[in-house]
């Protein structure tokens, strides 16, 4: 019997495939294409304490092997999420991660405090969104700053706490160690890489915010390297993210130490890509005689 299940911070996932924050909304759009119960889990669109309208100007710009985005954390805010989106997510029969961003430690704490009272399974603390001026990523660059926000959130957080790391951190391993020391139950990595693009005719940046976040298959080798390094340094579950397009990418991430993975930009190429990945992974495990993911986890 092939076992795709994995336990992340006390929560059982039926398989290691999670839809990544910011690429899957709250699942509604994708539920028109397949039953979300097939997924290991869904990480919600990045939530902030208060509603955010997001960034102006161009928000998506294609690159070779991926795309830059500057959405700017457009989201309905925690209260509206709890009232209008969470009831839908709860009915889907999959694990719910609430991805939480913020500009200040106080905002993170207030948002997490509200989520404490809900049925969400896991909180994914986003200290790494590059698209919000002065916020988010400021916490994801220096390990000391990250330590402070994670440890303060940890004190009030009643849910399993996963911290989503930025690849733009000064030192990804030191960052990971600091977050675990501060009380993170798990880590997800990586968020998007800071990038930019220029309109050479108008001689202006493509994005109003100038700097945007790069994702897609082009970043996979770097993400894989970072998961490899971090998995050697910490003992908590790691969710690998970065340009995953098919089951082979998933196997690579698991072999370098990821417990589960998240699919982000892949959802844009094909709304049913997660299903293809789950099926492909299962077939691969049968072919290779792999009975559980644990057998291949971190073998590199």
């Amino acid at each position: 019997m092939t076992d795709l299940t994995v336990n992340i911070c006390g929560t059982d996932l039926k398989n290691p495939v999670i839809a990544a924050s910011g690429t899957f909304g709250f699942g509604r759009e994708f539920s028109e294409y397949f039953s979300l119960s097939r997924l290991g889990g869904i990480s919600s669109k990045g939530l902030t304490l208060n509603r955010r309208e997001g960034n102006t100007g161009i928000r998506i710009y294609e690159t070779t092997g991926g795309l830059l985005n500057s959405i700017g954390l457009q989201n309905p805010g925690i209260d509206e999420f709890i009232e209008n989106e969470l009831p839908f997510m709860e009915q889907q029969g999959t694990v719910i991660m609430a991805n939480v961003g913020g500009n200040t430690i106080d905002e993170y704490i207030k948002a997490v405090d509200k989520l404490n009272e809900t049925n969400i399974d896991i909180i994914e603390l986003n200290i790494s969104c590059p698209n919000v001026k002065k916020g988010g990523m400021a916490f994801g660059i220096k390990a000391e700053t990250a330590y402070k926000v994670v440890s303060e959130v940890r004190q009030i957080c009643k849910k399993p706490l996963i911290v989503k790391l930025s690849p733009n951190a000064e030192d990804i391993v030191h960052m990971a160690e600091s977050c675990v020391k501060a009380g993170a139950d798990g880590l997800s990595l990586v968020n998007t890489f800071s990038g930019m693009a220029i309109d050479i005719k108008s001689r202006k940046p493509i994005f109003d915010n100038i700097i945007a976040g790069l994702s897609g298959p082009g970043i996979k080798p770097i993400a894989l390297r970072m998961v490899y390094q971090v998995s050697k340094a910490v003992d908590v579950p790691i969710l690998g993210i970065g340009g995953i397009m098919d089951y082979k990418d998933v196997v690579e991430f698991i072999m370098v130490g990821a417990w589960a993975i998240q699919v982000g930009s892949g959802n844009f190429k094909n709304p049913k890509v997660t299903l293809d990945i789950i099926e492909g992974l299962k077939e691969f495990m049968i072919e290779e005689g792999i009975k559980s993911l644990e057998e291949i986890r971190g073998i590199i």
Partner: protein
């Protein structure tokens, strides 16, 4: 459940003006017919590799029984690759997506297009059961007019180089007060002008364009500002009530 990307076969794909192509696709499954309203679009992918990464949104130009027509302009690598597909080749499409035009409107209707904005007007003119006039502006070369002729009363043409019809912009010859409703698709400045001309007098519905990543409303990459907040072009649109849209320059 909606179907995801599905394979279709190129029936024909030909250049009809500079950078403008008409592609007809058929299904490889006999029982499968194409669905969609005018103003809706499909995400189109005609290559195996991950470069270009994203599929291309192309509006429905026409649906005839088992045949779906796309009229598209080659603007970059993706549309160029689509233009190279020969008859018999396969490609993947996802759709129909978006809301489309309301075709149940009666009365005197004007369709106003600029350039490749003519594409959704073909199927729109065919779908409407009303008195329809068609205003189409082109920069220089005119194309595809004969495809709409039988479904409209009058056709007004403008070119910017005086090669055919009125010399100037199409908005300069549009008389909004003659109509109950106007549907428009084309460059942003043109649609903005149409909405301004009709403000408080005639209802305008505009089909908006944007870079689109997922096409299904998840990524929030194709949003526009409206009087009632941020809206997704691929989901709440691409057709919006003109006076709702905040046309930013």
């Amino acid at each position: 459940m909606k179907e995801g990307y599905r394979e279709v076969i190129v029936y024909s794909n030909k250049q009809i003006a500079s950078n403008i192509y008409e592609m007809k696709v058929v299904s490889d499954k006999d029982e499968l017919r194409f669905e969609g309203k005018s103003g809706q679009f499909y995400m189109v992918r005609g290559w195996e590799s991950l470069d270009p990464y994203l599929s291309r949104p192309i509006s429905i130009c026409n649906i005839e029984e088992d045949r779906l027509t796309f009229l598209y302009e080659v603007r970059g690598k993706g549309t160029h690759l689509i233009s190279t597909l020969e008859s018999g080749h396969s490609l993947e499409i996802l759709g129909p997506l978006g809301n489309g035009f309301n075709i149940n409107i009666k009365g005197n209707i004007a369709l106003v297009s600029g350039g490749i904005g003519i594409a959704p007007m073909i199927y729109l003119a065919k779908s409407l059961h009303a008195n329809v006039d068609f205003y189409c502006g082109f920069r220089n070369e005119i194309y595809y007019i004969d495809e709409i002729e039988e479904n409209v009363e009058n056709i007004f043409i403008s070119t910017e180089d005086d090669s055919k019809g009125y010399n100037g912009f199409i908005t300069e010859i549009l008389k909004p007060e003659q109509y109950d409703v106007i549907f428009t698709c084309g460059p942003l400045p043109m649609m903005k002008r149409v909405v301004e001309m009709c403000k408080g007098k005639v209802r305008v519905y505009a089909s908006m364009e944007s870079r689109i990543a997922c096409g299904i409303g998840a990524c929030l990459g194709c949003t526009i500002e409206t009087k009632s907040g941020i809206k997704r072009i691929c989901k709440e649109g691409p057709v919006f009530y003109g006076e709702e849209v905040l046309f930013n320059d």
